[in-house]
Symmetry: D2
Subunit: 395 residues, 4 copies
């Protein structure tokens, strides 16, 4: 199968298998939808579309970053697209990290079952008591005793903890180290570890959710794991986190663009089918036309910005592309919010009901402007890095 | 008790009794919160604060429109404020209409139990197949047969139908009438009537809700009610609807301003208490300061616009104030959305959780820009009425 | 004449005498328009409308602040309104200050000719090398020698310096003083003083202007004036500046609202008279309708906010009203810009021509968001003062 | 010279020769700057950079559309860039049209002198009495008599008429024709023709301008030109106009992006050099940082959108790219306005002076949202063409 065929197959799968599940699947509990989703996962495997983002060596399709970006847009049109293809966050990121930094033993125990879809994982980084934008400032500390990390700390927004087999935990392993970028480590912690308290699935926008559709609050009460559970080496936590961010954001943004296109489609379909007075369709009102055109322009701009960043990551590396990566974070998040808002408004009362996917987008994607660094943090960072070029001694 | 005392008492009640119930009450089913709320209603009665908006003759506090506006702002800070004082929509509007247009018999059966809080009611106007902005265009038709209305039709967003004793139904009673403003009637229909199908509580932003926190889809299959169930006279439906709108919107907007002030408070409290780096509070960031100042300005502007409209209704009547009433609808709805959005962003990840009331405001108040006529409809109407003054023959 | 008659007379004057001069008067040099304007000033005097803002004792109409606010809105519809009634900035502010703080001798020499309109004056505060938002930080310094102030410094945006008889100069008279609010003084400096260099009329938006329609850059090279030229007492410069600000901003904002109403009128007249296709008027397009309604709402909100601030100044004093005064500064400036922008867009190509007053508003009123403290400075200050109430130790 | 060298040379020329002329050249009359500009034109010729957009066959550099787009961005940083390289509107468009549709005789008389820079030309399309967005609806009519067109009509915004040798006039040559797209012709009219009245250079934003920096109002009183003066064939006016639009808009938008980059540069330079309080630079304020980052994102998005449209024109042709062409019109115009507005605000009072180029951008580029079809017209058209794909029978 060449890439064009792959895309066509994936698109057909999303439209035929996933869209048809709505709105049923949007409005039931996690456990009830799981059997159906696992059935669909088998279908994906049987079609040879499993793990699009993973190299062929590890059983995936071996797509480039740019190609997986396109796939991510297609999958993003359904909230279950990425899960069915086993490229959902945070598992996809964990797979990448384990492939690049995992020891043979770590791969055996954690990576291979993850690739097969037998287990799920999570990534514990955000903390309730520390501003999320600074991965160096953290309250979760690991001391080293008798060949073990002993972890104390408090995390939340640990997405998918509920039901996961292990967590990759970002923590401070050298609190007194002189180099702030070498204080942190990433450590694999089985979720069954003693002292690891599952406080709750945080209720978000009216739902605590469950499974990978959840965001846990957890506490570490002297949780012990062997020092060999570290990823890469002790002190490399920050470097690994950086690695994760660049390509991850490309796929994230492309997923958002997938949602934008879905919402745009729904908006246009509504505009041509809703009669507002004798023979006058909603789409003939100029306000609606303004929204459609502005959304079209901004979605196109979003995609071009993300593709541009993806190409630069491929050619120059993620570090030299960090300005572009900041840009797509805040630009696309804001476009997503605008497009969904317009699409809802065009639907009138129906827009706030769960009869379409829009209300779900509306409430769940509000977080887009917050997670992975609030938009304001990215804007501030980007501006400072731009201003440095104008004055060498600019702080 | 003079008005200042009344306000103080109500404010204390809202803060002590209602705020303390959050977030518990925001995240449970309707049935579970009902006993607590009814207990609070008794407390309100015992304090002599019941029915602030109703004249003393009918057992209320006899506040003026402007005064009840101020009360409505205070109550609006809690989603349960209006319910506890028995001035929640749509019951409050139904009470008003029954007091002004009800026959003695209608008052006996429907009004008095409503005033006492023994029953609830609903108002069936919006239809899924007709643009809501035009109360004359409706698909629900009543023919007259043997002293009865025989009603066929399809309504949705009938708020609080679930558990209500009766509905006031807006319908077309004279489909071929020459005067479009005399085609409609408002008819009282007991919810237990034969042929009245309760299709569902519509799931909105992830929840179907229940009780008065619900929005039903219902169908009328030849539902029969006696002609004496009409409010006012046959053909007066449109006139009565107009009556309802003006003062109702004042109270609605003041309720929104109550929410704005609540969200504003939460935003400021977060700004002074969240440390973002060594000794630097979130509130020292200029972006946050911009939001606080813009929100303050726009909330103040909202309140002044609503008070101005209220005073004009009192002195000039609702008809001559319809431009001001349109203005507050779209202006305040948009301010509410902005304030809630800023407050969430200031809270970061916590803002999308149900640990504060903000996420609830965010999803439920999205409808503010849609119901009672979408903002765009009001803008269009207002502009046309303004332009008429510039050219007499302007359509 | 009671106030309603005064307003009617003024409104008639503005419409009949001033509107009819456009666009001729908008597009010629200062010197050419001066004879006509001075002729109109005589007319104003003869109608008994001269100096509306000044007490009867000093030969004015004795209007209250709130009343003069209404007059200021009417006059603001023409760029020459305030000049013709001798209440233009900065002369009006200088008159106020001289009345309150001037000695008999200062009044004799400076105030009375100003009231009669025989001379003009200016106010030198802003400096090119210091951020304008902080009246304490200044580079213009006066040392005291032999009964004289000896002034060194550099000012710009000294409006109306060109042709003025004297300047009131804000300067630092006690650079080493411990109380920062007592370092500054306001000193009267005749423009003919030796060492006072008129560098240029700054070209603004394509025109250097002249007369009171100009903004000078000036330098003080050891300019000597007697110590008796101080206003109030030495060290009171800051206090006097504060006095000036509150009521001044009310009148400024009302003048802006006058411009808004003028632009709004032009927009509506265009909307009802421009045919865009067979029988379809521009005003029937929904985008235009949106603009008209949003502008209407925001102009109304502006006026209510200004009136509210004016009433609070009258009852609570300017100091306790400083939050409201900050709000009207940035809120009204932004509304003015929006209304003018919309009105231009509705005019199409004609909107950027000087065939209407809109292009003149557009370029000259861009400064509204900058002068008297940039909007961002006001937002930041206001937010900090709001946050103080949430935490006493907030800086 | 390869393209990279060409760009480098042009960039150096713009920075060294053109930037250094500001602000002198921005604030003087046309006639005074002409000698200097013509001297610079000779310099451009001598460096072999003349006519970048024209094929080598006709004496130009033979750049592709995409390449000239890049050049246009560089030239756009100065208001005199395009003129010095003889690729200014409307001459550049007229050259293109004459190359493609001109007869040998037309080329001899009009094209070659234009290419050499010996004469200037103009393009008369917009009419005061007809909405500019519809090139079919026009009031300028040519009847055919004795081998001549006899033209009656009224045009304005005929840019550069003042001093031009000829105009290409868009007119209706077949008013009763059944095919609306074949009613119009483009006809060459020498400006010295009898009956061609030069009413005025329209004063725009305070200046009537002159030379190619002017926009004339003209009237045709039975102006006679031979039928052989038609471009292409009679009735082809609309087709030729379409030809002109696509690539023209690419260059226009790239010119705007050049201005955006210039304004962005000035904004950043100000941010790092302006101290707002003891040791605190303006660029450390978060509001400024927000503007810098948002502008950076939107300028990047603009460029990518324009490049994408350019590539599509090259591969698919202008007709199939008309949606993308509409998008860049309104998207880039709005970004230009935002960037200039932010840059001015960052400059404070200096921003509205003519000490920088920003005030000139501000007032002259306001028209960007209006000319070549107001943004609203493009949005409306684009939306209708999008909606057609959703419903075949959509009008």
């Amino acid at each position: 199968m060449d890439f064009e065929e792959i895309k066509k197959e994936i698109e057909a799968f999303v439209k035929e298998e996933l869209f048809s599940l709505e709105p049923w699947i949007l409005n039931i509990e996690w456990e009830k939808k799981l059997p159906k989703l696992n059935e669909l996962r088998e279908k994906v495997k049987s079609k040879g579309l499993w793990l699009p983002q993973i190299s062929k060596e590890y059983g995936g399709l071996g797509l480039t970053n740019a190609e997986h970006g396109e796939v991510s847009e297609i999958l993003g049109a359904s909230p279950y697209g990425h899960y069915c293809f086993n490229c959902q966050a945070p598992d996809a990121g964990n797979m990448e990290i384990l492939i690049e930094f995992g020891t043979d033993e770590q791969k055996e125990i954690y990576l291979y079952p993850l690739l097969k879809g037998e287990i799920r994982s999570c990534f514990a980084m955000t903390e309730p008591d520390h501003a999320g934008s600074n991965p160096i400032k953290m309250g979760t500390i690991a001391s080293k005793e008798n060949g073990n990390y002993v972890i104390k700390g408090h995390k939340w927004f640990t997405s998918g903890f509920d039901g996961a087999s292990f967590a990759i935990v970002m923590l401070v392993s050298d609190p007194n180290g002189s180099d702030p970028h070498k204080k942190a480590s990433q450590v694999i912690v089985p979720t069954s570890s003693q002292g690891l308290e599952f406080v709750r699935n945080i209720s978000i926008m009216g739902h605590p959710g469950g499974g990978w559709e959840s965001h846990a609050e957890i506490k570490f009460h002297d949780v012990k794991v062997p020092l060999t559970n570290v990823l890469g080496a002790d002190g490399e936590g920050f470097t690994i986190a950086q690695k994760r961010l660049g390509p991850g954001r490309i796929h994230h943004c492309m997923r958002w663009i997938g949602m934008c296109e879905r919402a745009f489609d729904l908006m246009c379909e509504r505009a041509v089918s809703r009669e507002i007075s004798e023979g006058v369709m909603l789409g003939e009102k100029q306000t609606i036309q303004n929204w459609i055109s502005e959304c079209r322009a901004e979605i196109n701009a979003s995609r071009l910005l993300v593709q541009d960043a993806a190409n630069k990551i491929d050619t120059l590396g993620a570090y030299k592309t960090r300005s572009e990566i900041s840009i797509i974070k805040f630009y696309c998040a804001q476009v997503l919010q605008k497009v969904v808002d317009c699409a809802i408004q065009v639907h009138g009362a129906k827009g706030v009901t769960d009869d379409t996917i829009l209300a779900s987008y509306y409430r769940h994607e509000r977080a887009a402007r917050i997670y992975d660094g609030a938009d304001e943090v990215h804007k501030s960072r980007l501006a400072r890095s731009i201003l440095k070029k104008y004055k060498l001694d600019y702080k």
